[in-house]
Amino acid sequence: MCECQNCGNCENGQKKVVSRRKFMAWSVGAINLAVFGAVFGPVLGFLGSPLRHRQMKQWVPVLDEGALGEGETKEVPFTVRVKDGYEMVDRTYVVYLVRSEEGIVALDPSCTHLGCRIKFQADKNRYFCPCHGGVFDNRGTVVSGPPPKPLVRHAVEVREGKIWVQRSV
């Protein structure tokens, strides 16, 4: 014996209604979607939080002004307290200070190619990147190699006999 499933597909003159079967199938689908969303929505938002990070600027005194002679380039380490995820740490960074006719320039030591640590060679008056052969002149302009941009310059100020550098954190 056959029983009408109310599938809505036949032409038996029956009303086109959503069958029980279809209704349940759709419901299961919708519930699955909701469960999926309930897990992955919050998790993706949670993991994506670094995207909302705002850069802040911080002024740090790094060197006595008198310690940097005319035409001199100095590698200056300085330590700042930074928030590293869940902990506060003292972290040491390095900046290259150059005094020339245009004043004091503070160069970031990360190669603009892929971020290796560049090194200054006084005898050549150039910065060399150990990774893929990037070379910069003493103002940070690219001389050769793959780096696409000159070295990043930090803002510098001289206040009360000290050289201050602005870092973004």
């Binding site: 995207l51 590293d84 640590r117």
Partner: protein, 394 residues
């Protein structure tokens, strides 16, 4: 009366009706083997796999998959052991690894097994891919076996990239600084992608926890699923014979092929154990963002990419970081559809064979160049002979 084994060939409903009292007793208290088999169908499964037909001509080249499986098992076990001594934070990661390597009994050996094992997996996976490629075994109906394989390959590379950071020494730190910066070269979304991967602006505490979670949770889970699918398909579709069918009847997997597998596993693991003992893993100085005496260098199998970065012209690094690796990955993934020739014979798909050989050789040679030219740590090269200008300015 001989002992009855209940196996799936004998459906459960057909459990025999006991005829004698003695038999009734035996069926009531079956042997452990019968008891488990009735419930799990285990012996049937084992027998089916041992009897799997191998076309004539299947031999040593088909043992690499099983070697991979064994090496993976080793990684899981040694990785689990290492995780028990490891602490994923910048202030403790380095010390925990140093401690487990230098103080914990057998620590150096277990870490050595994990380290050399990962290298062995990369080598074996590449050999396995090459053998499948030259045999044309990725063709209909085995396209998806290949696709799952390519996904597995990417997971393997992900393992080594994330694992490399975990010891938090100079090598780890700087390779990750440079490696993650590659993401920043992606057009438009690069900087955001970099922040997502690092968990912030700089490589730090959140990068370490991210990499750790990916290395010990996400990738192992993906690998188990993908390997399961891969092996299911290998058995479902059976192994492809040689390109030119050879005479003879198929032989069962057991004993000949299994014996070959065992020999290869013995040799492969022997090499890993030897390397772990002869070249115990080192740990360098602790990660130091300000340190100057360190030349970043990636794990050796990424050295090809590293060399590529040196040769692309200035301003086009996206070629080396995204375009070329991306094209190679996509080409691998869609190989079964790029190769339209219905024949598996190399001569009938010469362009694909040539392209694949060219790409593999290039990667091989660039890797070799990288291995030869990349200096060991702490011996920074004198800066390359750069024609000095008389006054030191450009």
């Amino acid at each position: 009366m001989s002992r009855r084994t209940l196996s799936p060939e004998r459906p459960v409903e057909n459990v025999p009706v006991p005829e004698t009292q003695e038999e009734a007793l035996r069926l009531e208290r079956p042997s452990l083997r019968d008891w488990t088999d009735l419930r799990l169908g285990w012996w049937g499964f084992v027998r089916k796999n041992l009897d799997e037909p191998m076309p004539p001509g299947v031999g040593w080249w088909q043992t690499l998959g099983n070697l991979l499986l064994t090496l993976l098992l080793f990684q899981f076990v040694t990785g689990f052991a290492l995780a028990m001594y490891y602490a994923p934070s910048p202030s403790s990661a380095y010390h925990s690894v140093k401690h487990l390597t230098e103080t914990v009994p057998l620590g150096s050996f277990v870490r050595g097994l994990h380290m050399w094992g990962s290298g062995a997996i990369v080598v074996t996976v590449v050999l396995h891919i090459l053998r499948v490629f030259y045999w044309g075994s990725y063709k209909k109906p085995r396209e998806l076996t290949w696709v799952f394989g390519v996904l597995i390959f990417n997971v393997v590379l992900g393992f080594s990239f994330t694992g490399y950071l975990l010891p938090w020494d100079q090598k780890a730190y700087w390779a990750t600084v440079v490696g993650t910066r590659i993401a920043a070269t992606v057009p438009f979304v690069g900087p955001d992608l970099l922040r997502l991967i690092r968990g912030g602006e700089e490589v730090g505490a959140l990068t370490l926890t991210r990499f750790y979670a990916i290395h010990v949770m996400l990738l192992p889970a993906s690998l188990v699923v993908l390997t399961g699918l891969h092996l299911y398909l290998v058995r479902r579709l059976h192994i492809a014979g040689p390109v030119l069918p050879q005479k003879g009847k198929p032989v069962p997997f057991f004993p000949v092929q299994l014996f070959r597998d065992a020999i290869v596993v013995l040799v492969g693991l022997g090499i890993v154990v030897y390397l772990a003992l002869a070249f115990p893993p080192a740990i360098e100085a602790m990660a130091d963002p300000a340190g100057t005496d360190f030349t970043p260098r990636p794990e050796w199998y990424f050295l090809g990419l590293y060399e590529l970065l040196k040769i692309v012209p200035q301003g086009y690094e996206v070629l080396a970081t995204v375009v070329i690796p991306g094209l190679i990955s996509l080409g691998m993934l869609f190989l079964p559809w790029l190769d339209r020739s219905p024949s598996r014979h190399p001569a009938m798909r010469a362009s694909i064979i040539l392209a694949g050989t060219f790409v593999s050789l290039t990667i091989g040679l660039m890797t070799l160049k990288g291995v030869i030219e990349t200096p060991p740590p702490h011996h920074p090269p004198a800066a390359k002979a750069e024609a000095p200008t008389p006054d030191g300015t450009p």
